[in-house]
């Protein structure tokens, strides 16, 4: 493959796109901001900010309750957002549950499995590169039910050991729950294979798509995945909202997660009957404004074209990896052939936080630390990494600033 050079990575619209993100137009510590912490959260375009402002200035009202005009308008916008997000992932709208985010969505499924399906001696399969939010909910469920948490090993390159995975699939496994893209290593996991292999043994699969959602086209029906979780704020939308996609049959079978308003059909003190999914899982007044912002965010990405974004980010990632490798003593953590734009590295013996502090002084925002993947850091025997993670508004100029910034940090650290 031809190595990406700055010259041939061109997106004609990039200047206009960058102008749509007001936050990018600022200086930090005297330098124009280079924002490379998109794996943690992405910035928001004016289209999203405007949609949310219009809601609060024009039609703030509770949903699914009132007969008055504002409430009907709010309900329509909230449900339209559900349709938009469903279209974004290739799902039916009634298969899309609004949650607080990816973590909440995984907890919803883990709690449901704990209550309805997991029994003593059963197994839950996760991987060694999971975010804590795809470890701890399953650990809690397994502890309570005396079930076992099994972990797919990660190779030195930062890929899943698929032979080991194949050997782990047995009738005791009740669910496989893995990341589509690793937030720390950038590895894109072979999710089609994982789903096919699990399904061959009758085991359902949950995909943590938090790090995939802004970068990869998602078609849940084609994937035939059973559950998929993602967060709006990593797809240019607001914090505090995300979704759980669930196949209709699964959403019917899963017991309710939380009780309250909006999730019921009829309540008496003796017995409550529940609303149909997805409302069965949406107890209480939802994050209405955030849902509307989420809808605007996926509309924005769709209008730009997720395939175009994917191709651009792929080139940018290749460029970033190649440029970072020119720094002596820089070691990439995660070198999968199939990778997304979350790039973790260490430089010499320098502590990631030292490198991060000195990059910040130069107006470059990266993440340092364990990235909520402590078991993975133990696997690679490091206290953490420096992680640069890309989004659609990043440019080769941002990468050049990063590389120069790391070089300056190394000089200072001596």
């Amino acid at each position: 493959m031809e190595t990406a050079t700055a010259k041939n990575i061109i997106w004609p619209d990039i200047e206009r796109i960058r102008n749509e993100f007001p936050i990018l137009q600022q200086t930090v510590n005297g330098n124009p901001l280079v924002y490379l912490d998109n794996g943690a959260t992405t910035q928001k375009p004016v289209q999203v900010i405007r949609a949310m402002q219009e809601y609060y200035t024009g039609y703030n009202s509770n949903v699914h309750r009132g007969v008055h005009t504002l409430s009907q308008k709010a309900t329509s916008a909230y449900e339209a957002a559900r349709h938009q997000v469903a279209a974004y992932i290739g799902a039916h709208h009634h298969e899309v549950v609004f949650t607080k985010g990816t973590t909440d969505a995984i907890n919803l499924v883990a709690a449901g499995f704990r209550r309805a399906f997991l029994q003593e001696g059963d197994e839950v399969v996760i991987s060694g590169m999971e975010h804590h939010s795809n470890i701890v909910p399953w650990q809690l469920a397994c502890e309570e039910k005396k079930a076992h948490l099994k972990v797919i090993p990660v190779t030195d390159k930062g890929e899943l050991d698929m032979d080991a995975f194949a050997a782990m699939l047995n009738p005791r496994v009740k669910i496989v729950s893995v990341a589509w893209v690793s937030n720390t290593l950038g590895t894109i996991n072979p999710v089609k294979d994982i789903i096919a292999m699990a399904h061959a043994k009758g085991i359902p699969v949950l995909l943590d798509a938090a790090q995939a959602a802004a970068h990869t086209p998602i078609r849940v029906h084609e994937l035939d995945v059973d559950f998929l979780a993602l967060s709006a704020h990593k797809v240019y939308g607001p914090t505090g909202i995300g979704i759980l996609y669930g196949k209709e049959s699964w959403l019917q079978q899963l017991p309710p997660y939380q009780g309250g308003g909006d999730m019921i059909k009829h309540v008496t003190f003796e017995k409550t009957t529940y609303a149909e999914p997805p409302l069965k899982f949406e107890a209480g007044t939802p994050a209405i404004c955030e849902a509307i912002g989420f809808g605007a965010a996926v509309a924005y990405v769709t209008q730009l074209g997720i395939h175009k974004i994917q191709a651009y980010e792929h080139q940018l990632t290749e460029y970033a990896v190649a440029q970072l490798k020119t720094i002596p003593e820089l070691r990439l953590i995660g070198e999968s052939k199939h990778r997304a734009g979350a790039i973790s590295f260490l430089v010499g013996q320098h502590h990631p936080s030292d490198v991060g502090v000195l990059l910040d002084q130069q107006g470059i925002a990266v993440r340092t630390g364990h990235h909520c993947t402590q078991p993975l850091m133990d696997r690679f025997e490091c206290p953490g990494t420096v992680r640069a993670s890309l989004a659609l508004y990043n440019t080769t100029a941002d990468i050049d600033r990063l590389v120069a910034g790391v070089q300056k940090a190394v000089t200072l650290l001596g």
Partner: protein
């Protein structure tokens, strides 16, 4: 020197730096120069866990003064730790407990105290105050 005099000295030292690089070069040098903590005190009990870097802090009374030694796995944190120790070590528990720490703000390093930075510096300052209050209470009891 009093805690106030120590802080004023540091503030004066930092006034000569022309840009952020000189400032951080100095902090990094302080980090490298900080006398190593006696390995026997580098225990989990003395570990102040920050989210990003680790700080070990050991306290002991020498006469009527409280003496601190410390270490960190990150050199910038270690440099900041060295500054804190310069100010607060070899002082009486009472003076430490009552001290107003203003130099970090004055030398433009407040961001290192933000809880989101989680580099252990804030937790270390709290821990130093707790030691001081503890030793102060002990000495009151003994008297």
């Amino acid at each position: 020197m009093t805690i106030k005099e120590q802080q004023d000295n540091i503030i004066a030292d930092f006034e000569v730096f022309g840009d952020w690089m000189e400032k951080y070069e100095y902090i990094i040098q302080l980090g490298k120069d900080l006398p190593l903590i006696d390995p026997q005190y580098k225990t989990d009990d003395n570990l102040i866990r920050g989210c990003q870097s680790k700080v070990w802090l050991h306290a002991e009374m020498q006469g009527d003064k409280l003496v601190f030694t410390a270490d960190s796995d990150a050199v910038i944190t270690k440099g900041l730790v060295a500054l804190v120790i310069q100010v607060l070590s070899h002082q009486t528990p009472k003076d430490i407990a009552n001290a107003d720490i203003y130099f970090i703000d004055a030398i433009g390093l407040t961001s290192h105290l933000s809880p989101t930075r989680s580099n252990g510096l804030l937790s270390m300052l709290k821990q130093i105050k707790l030691y001081a209050i503890g030793y102060q209470a002990k000495s009151v009891q003994q008297n």
